[in-house]
């Protein structure tokens, strides 16, 4: 109870409230602009957070995460293009409803269900993150190794696209993390005589390259695409009939989204697709789906916003990111000297509950801003790409350079931008690369330390029950796509 009262600390601090309001507005802008989103936006703003104290920095990043996830729905409804990948399922019914002249009703339903989904997931976060952290006290090096392997296999299994390609991308991410001096022996690996590579490749150049620069290249191929924008008069709160029709869907999707969010993968995207299909399966009027069903909008939006809180559970409790955006938040925590994990819950509860509280407030704020300001935010989509992307390039370059004041980081960013473009073109998701990069040190470190404990005997891994459980779960995660004949 004492800890729960800490959740409302942000309300007492004018500085945190300013950060929250700014983060929510900035997140909405990022969410509305197709191609940008919480991951790219978070990575771009990370250098600026260095001027803030750790709590304000993480509050800013989480506010962006929550509101950008919702912001994607505005573009999905009005121009039939998801502002973020997590809003893809919202297009299916949001745009047809908007075409019928009910854009305000579609956005109202998206706003309400996003807010309920987001708040539901914060409740899940508040109750489950401490429990998971408690469990993590039992973990030694071998258990952390097995957990990281489980995280990567889950990512491959339930992420978007082909599981084998996801595994390749994840292994590539881990490989990038091995560049530089080996942490146990100081022997240089893949540095090829470049001194600046001794410290390894930074997270930010890779993220900005894979997301922002590769997106810029993608946009350069889509210049002939014309968006048809539906006019919006005002956002309308759902009617009593709409609430009656959708409350079960919203609750179900909130549960689905929170659960999927906890699993390491690009939670919001997968959650919204599952939330949408479950809404259709349980609906009394499935024939309305795809033609402007409010249940479809509610199912997708409640799920993708519920995934935000869910994804924060493993990030804070175990230091394992639940999505690409939480990987950026995790980096934010690390560069501010905060090490997520069980000790954080014991030693800095005010910090953690401040984050929980700010996520709760961010969900309420984007409801207010979305409700009253969707019309203004929708106008941002009118900024032409030929002006927007050169500006984003300027911010990307300066932001990447600013972290360690190294031009090598800028070259690395451009290199990964090109790699990311071709990866996406040929069906390799870039998200596993990010998760692999951030988990790489953990995977290798815990493996090698475990082998030291086991005196080189690999079979001793199988004597630890938690390790065996994670290995079995990893195996199931790997064969699951084959069982359901998912595309390879």
């Amino acid at each position: 109870m004492e800890n729960l009262s800490l959740m409302f600390a942000p309300l007492m601090s004018s500085k945190l409230m300013i950060v929250l309001v700014f983060g929510t507005l900035f997140g909405l802008i990022l969410g509305v602009l197709p191609g940008l989103g919480p991951t790219t936006g978070g990575a771009l703003i990370l250098p600026f957070t260095m001027t803030l104290d750790p709590l304000s920095a993480i509050v800013l990043l989480t506010a962006i995460y929550c509101s950008a996830t919702y912001g994607g729905a505005i573009t999905a409804v009005l121009i039939n293009t998801p502002g973020t990948p997590a809003a893809a399922a919202t297009c299916l019914d949001g745009y047809p409803l908007a075409q019928k002249g009910e854009a305000g009703r579609a956005l109202g339903m998206a706003t309400v269900s996003s807010t309920i989904g987001g708040i539901f997931s914060v409740v899940v976060l508040v109750f489950f993150a401490p429990l998971l952290a408690q469990l993590a006290y039992e973990f030694g090096q071998p258990e952390y190794f097995a957990l990281a392997i489980f995280g990567l296999t889950m990512l491959a299994s339930i992420g978007e696209g082909s599981p084998i390609k996801n595994l390749i991308a994840g292994a590539f991410g881990i490989l990038i993390s091995t560049i530089g001096k080996d942490f146990m022996t100081s022997i240089e690996r893949f540095t090829y005589g470049i001194n600046e590579l001794s410290e390894g490749i930074g997270f930010i150049p890779v993220v900005v390259g894979l997301f922002a620069i590769s997106e810029m290249l993608t946009q350069s191929t889509l210049l002939d695409k014309v968006f048809k924008r539906v006019a919006l008069k005002a956002v309308k709160l759902p009617s009593l009939l709409d609430y009656k029709k959708t409350w079960k869907t919203i609750l179900r999707s909130s549960g689905i989204g929170s659960f999927i969010g906890v699993l390491p993968a690009e939670g919001g995207t997968v959650a919204s697709l599952i939330g949408y299909s479950e809404a259709k399966r349980w609906s009394k009027n499935p024939e309305e789906f795809g033609k402007g069903s409010v249940e479809g909008i509610a199912g997708a939006e409640a799920a993708n916003n519920a995934a935000t809180g869910g994804a924060m559970v493993p990030t804070l409790a175990l230091g394992i990111p639940g999505s690409a955006t939480t990987a950026v938040i995790l980096t934010g925590l690390i560069i501010h000297g905060v090490r997520p994990g069980p000790d954080l819950f014991r030693e800095q509860p005010e910090f953690l509950y401040g984050i929980f509280g700010s996520m709760l407030i961010a969900n309420i704020l984007f409801f207010i801003f979305g409700f009253f300001g969707a019309k203004i935010f929708a106008r941002i989509t009118l900024v032409p790409n030929k002006l927007l992307w050169p500006m984003i390039f300027a911010v990307s370059v300066c932001g990447t350079y600013s972290l360690s004041q190294s031009m090598l980081d800028v070259w690395i960013m451009l290199f990964f931008g090109v790699i990311g473009f071709f990866m996406r073109r040929y069906g390799f998701s870039v998200v596993p690369v990010i998760i692999g990069l951030i988990l790489g040190e953990l995977v290798e470190g815990t493996l090698r330390q475990s082998l030291v404990i086991f005196e080189g005997n690999w079979l001793l891994f199988l004597t630890r029950p938690i390790v065996v459980t994670f290995f079995i779960l990893s195996f199931i995660a790997l064969i699951f796509p084959l069982l359901r004949k998912k595309k390879i």
Partner: protein, 169 residues
């Protein structure tokens, strides 16, 4: 027949070395093999100091995993070919070219000049012709970004013909 099916059927008729799946798999395997060979040049820890595995073992394992999985991807693509991607437009190559110019100009002349030139080049090649907007993206916006990073983050940008004037070097 859907477009994707048509594209897949068209892909089946191409010789194997022209297919995307071959080119992509071949590139991944080639790069991974080169990297795998380079791991043999890593220093070896003497047995007395070695704790656990050698520093090269883990990257070797990863590279072998990537090569094996890529072979699986290629094998599966024989049965189920990828759809043919559209040809990349001229604007893509111009954007890519602007990155190369950016690297050359920022290394030889000035970091900010490079940003300005890239911005005007990309904006123009993507179809912007209005002078005010070209000035906005190439001069006004980079100046705002420069001042913001310089004053708020206290960042010192690399030396160059323009930044040296600002820093009065």
């Amino acid at each position: 027949m859907s477009n994707v099916q048509k594209q897949k059927r068209a892909s089946k008729n191409l010789p194997f070395f022209f297919k995307d799946e071959f080119k992509v798999s071949f590139t991944i395997i080639l790069v991974s093999t080169i990297l795998l060979f380079s791991t043999f040049t890593f220093d070896i820890v003497p047995p007395i100091l070695n704790r656990g595995i050698q520093p090269a073992t883990f990257p070797k394992g990863l590279l072998l995993l990537i090569i094996s999985l890529t072979l699986v991807v290629y094998y599966l693509s024989i049965k189920n070919p990828w759809k043919i991607e559209k040809k990349l437009p001229k604007t893509f190559f111009l954007t890519l070219l602007s990155f190369i110019f950016f690297i050359i100009v920022s290394k030889t002349l000035d970091f900010f000049l490079a940003i300005s030139l890239l911005s005007v080049f990309v904006s123009y090649s993507w179809g912007e012709r209005r002078l005010f907007y070209l000035i906005l993206v190439s001069i006004i916006f980079p100046i705002i970004v420069f001042i913001f990073f310089e004053t708020i983050l206290g960042l010192r940008f690399p030396p160059g013909i323009i930044t040296n004037i600002y820093y009065q070097v």
